[in-house]
């Protein structure tokens, strides 16, 4: 494998970091937004410039300073990190666009702080994606927790305070209480944190100890939202919608699952987990979350809350896929990071658009809204089809791999979990679209007047919805990256 030393990963991370003081010092809205855009584009460009090399099977590494003996703040861009970085940096551009429309039309306060924290969060997200060892991963994970706190509590009212409190209690409590001790125990035994394709634990722990450590990580990265560490996510929905969209459908929660996936593949190693039979435990935990969250989602009337519970379930898909430890399962799980991101962000954009245009938050009040906002609701339908996993949308590709994965690993139980949950997904998503478009005139709560949101809001959600469709027909480079990652893990030749 080719290894290239380059400062590019650091540059990609720091682009949005350096833009923070500029955002703070800029007086006018336009300047602030222009800088955000510029940073987003630049970040995406840097990430993209690394893509061809990674696709050829190379890795890009950069090491900063050694902070503990044998542990440096180090970055390594491999296929899996690249996949996640591509998703988050491309969606930041779209979200910036959406933010401008949303924040302006609602005349939100504290926009400077908002854009600055957003840029900071993206730095942290890419830091997680490119982390070369467990320590760097943890560092940026924590940075993300703090950078997103002012975003979650943006409204600065009582509700925001209690949600913010819940958010931090879960995220910080789990990471300090579970992840940090687990890291320390591993470090004292192995003396290293360097990610390796087959993990670096090398049987340093007994089966019982490994089980405990694995569960400490799986639950400790509470951003992944596995039950019972999920309830911060619905609470965090008090945030402005662009925040919910990017952070709570893409960056924050995906950072959680990305960390779990990294730890399973590069710290513990899939071979070791397979011989110890520990993947199955995680699979059961994930399955429980999938089913229960789907049922809860059915009962939610607040659109964003329903989406939040749907996200909890979908995140568990990813973890389930990885924990199946079979090639297709892992491919599906990794691919789902991308596919679900595009689908779910569309849904959040739509929820925000509905709120910005009409002030409605509850599903029961949305009867007939499709007549008033046809573009938004069409995008919503596409997004929900992708999340349910129906062709011709991207979500189908990842779910297909997941299903194959369950068969491959011979664990048919999880196949039924996936199928059942897909039905439940359909049950909580499709009625929304149905009611929005098909209702009698008496039931309709809106006149037949097209009254869409500002273009700044509308364009992004159309883009992401279109992307979801495109990814069904052309799932590259995500599929390629996921397959390359799996090939490295199982030691097969590059696809």
């Amino acid at each position: 494998m080719e290894l290239l030393y380059s400062i590019k990963p650091l540059a990609a991370i720091l682009v949005s970091f350096f833009v923070v003081p500029i955002i703070f010092s800029s007086k006018s809205e336009n300047v602030r937004e222009a800088w955000t855009f510029l940073a987003a584009l630049l970040k995406f460009a840097i990430v993209l410039s690394m893509l061809p090399f990674v696709l050829k099977g190379g890795q890009i590494a950069y090491s900063l300073v050694e902070v503990l003996p044998g542990v440096a703040i180090a970055f390594k861009v491999d296929a899996f990190g690249m996949l996640f970085a591509l998703v988050s940096s491309s969606l930041w551009i779209v979200t910036s666009m959406y933010s401008i429309g949303y924040m302006r039309s609602l005349k939100e306060h504290g926009q400077t702080r908002y854009y600055a924290c957003f840029a900071l969060s993206l730095s942290a997200t890419l830091g997680v994606a490119f982390a070369g060892n467990l320590f760097t991963l943890y560092l940026f994970y924590e940075m993300l927790s703090f950078a997103t706190y002012p975003l979650v509590t943006h409204h600065q009212d009582k509700e925001a305070r209690s949600s913010g409190r819940k958010y931090l209690t879960y995220i910080l409590g789990a990471s300090i209480g579970l992840v940090l001790p687990a890291m320390l125990i591993i470090y004292t035994q192995t003396g290293t944190f360097e990610f390796a394709p087959q993990g670096f634990m090398n049987g340093a722990f007994s089966k019982e100890a490994t089980t405990v450590l694995l569960l400490m990580f799986v639950f400790g990265f509470a951003k992944a939202g596995l039950m019972p560490f999920h309830s911060w996510l619905p609470a965090a929905m008090v945030a402005p919608t662009p925040v919910s969209a990017l952070l709570h459908a893409v960056a924050v929660v995906k950072v959680g699952v990305f960390c779990v996936a990294r730890v399973i593949t590069s710290v513990f190693g899939t071979k070791m987990l397979a011989t110890m039979g520990l993947g199955t435990i995680v699979c059961y935990v994930a399955s429980f979350t999938i089913i229960v969250s789907s049922f809860i989602a059915l009962s939610q009337d607040g659109l964003k809350r329903r989406l939040a519970f749907s996200t909890i379930g979908q995140l568990a898909y990813i973890i389930l896929g990885i924990a199946l430890l079979s090639p297709s399962g892992m491919t599906g799980g990794m691919l789902h990071i991308a596919m679900h991101a595009f689908g779910k962000i569309t849904l959040f954009f739509c929820a925000g658009a509905i709120f910005a245009a009409s002030g409605i938050k509850n599903i029961s009040e949305m009867v007939g809204i499709g007549r008033r906002m046809p573009f938004t609701m069409t995008a919503f339908l596409l997004g929900s089809l992708s999340v349910i996993g129906l062709p011709p949308l991207g979500g189908f590709i990842s779910k297909w791999h997941l299903v194959i994965g369950t068969i491959e690993s011979g664990q048919i139980f999880f196949l039924f979990v996936l199928l059942a949950s897909s039905l439940l997904n359909a049950a909580y998503f499709l009625p929304i679209s149905y009611k929005a478009f098909f209702c009698t005139d008496e039931e309709a709560m809106f006149e037949k007047k097209v009254d869409e949101v500002p273009t700044w809001c509308l364009v992004p959600l159309c883009i992401t919805a279109t992307c979801s469709v495109i990814f069904f027909f052309y799932p590259q480079p995500f599929l390629q990256l996921a397959k390359m990652t799996v090939a490295t893990i199982i030691g097969a030749p590059m696809p």
Binding site: V67, L68, F135, T153, L168, L184
Partner: protein, 496 residues
Amino acid sequence: MTHHFPALLIIVPLLSALIVSAMGWINRRWCFPLAVAALSGALAISVGLLTQVMATGPIAYKMAGWSPPIGITYVIDYLNAPILVVILAVALLNLIAAKTWIEKDFSEKIGAYLALYLLFLSGMVGIVSTGDAFNLYVLLEIGSLTGYALIGLGKERAPLSSLNYLFMGTIGASFYLLGIGYIYIATGTLNMADIASMIPQLAESSTLFLALIICMAGLFVKMALFPMHGWLPNAYSNAPSASAGLIAPLTTKVMIYAMVRLGLTVFTPQFTFSRGMLSEAIVWVAVAAIIAGSLLALMQRRLSRMLTYIIVAEVGYMVGGFWLGNEAGVTGATLHIINDAAMTLTLFLAVSAITWKLGSDKFEDLQGLFGKMPFTMMGFVIAALAVIGIPPTCGFFSKWYLITAGINAGQWAFVGALLFSSLTNAVLFFRIFEIAFFEPFATGHGHHDHGPTFSEAPLTMVVPLIVAAISLIALGLYSGDIVTKLIQLAIPAGIA
């Protein structure tokens, strides 16, 4: 010239104290620049010493040319060179930040106040650099007496708090003196290196063991180890802001340095950690200190008082880590001396800026502070993250070593206490952030009609605060170098 640096380090603040106090009679405007110049000079000397030590190894300086063991030596080695830099940097930053306070509170007595300030520092610097056990006592008292005066100059309850501090401080110092007496009985010398060379022959001596216990007990009182911490919260929180920012970061940390110095290079680790019962008992006391300090901090309703109880908990960190007696523990404790001094400085500078603007540091008065004083709060947030222990701030790394030490030693109570204290600190600081960020509550859908107006503290306060805050991150990023290039070389062989 450079080979006189160890002596100059003490002489510069000492002499300039005299000059500044004389200048107080002649022309008061010159006092402050003089003090700043003296401290800058001393800081430059300490940096010079640090580079010298890193390049060529420890330096032993014979005071007035008398050779040890008869004369007094000053030893600058890997252990105290970085601590000297930190002490002087803390003092300089705080002096600049306290300019407006000193001019307001002590305009008449500025010469006397600054003279005390400099004398206090010569005491602190002396304690850290001396190589003589009795000399350490004398310098300890110089530092303490000036410290009592610096605190007692405050208003309201300050003199009473200072007097109580004086009582406890004298008990502590006297115990240390008594312990030195027993060392002298057992070894017949007071030179640290000389004592250490005799320890192997006296490994079974109960007199020496008694000396160890008495010395440590004295230092524990002086560093406010729980349950001997009663004097600290009152003394620090009632002190004038200018003094609090100096004394809070330095006094306890220098006492912990004295403990490390005695344990490692006087009694030698083989002897210090030879009685398992003693080490274990002290670690348990440290565990109690961490938990009690954290819980008591939760009960406070004033920012500065809350910070003083956090100091009580932090003392537990370092004492516990050191007495675990393994390499990671000693490394962590030593690293935490540096980090905690920087963290405490940043926090107290922030409190001093807040008190300057608001006239109070009660929790209920902190509303809307993020809007009013964004730069001060930025520094405060970074310091808070360091205290909680979030990477890449420095607090994370020392805590990392301490927890590793707990795991290596199988001392799970200590590990648990550290994690508990991290979480408690998170609660403590986020409670303040919430007040400062959310209140007064926005009306309606998050629109502040009349948001808090920008009104930041003077630049002389904010700039040192920001510098201190940035140093927390820099110390964190370079903690790998600090450990491998300094602290690990300072730890003598014979530690597991």
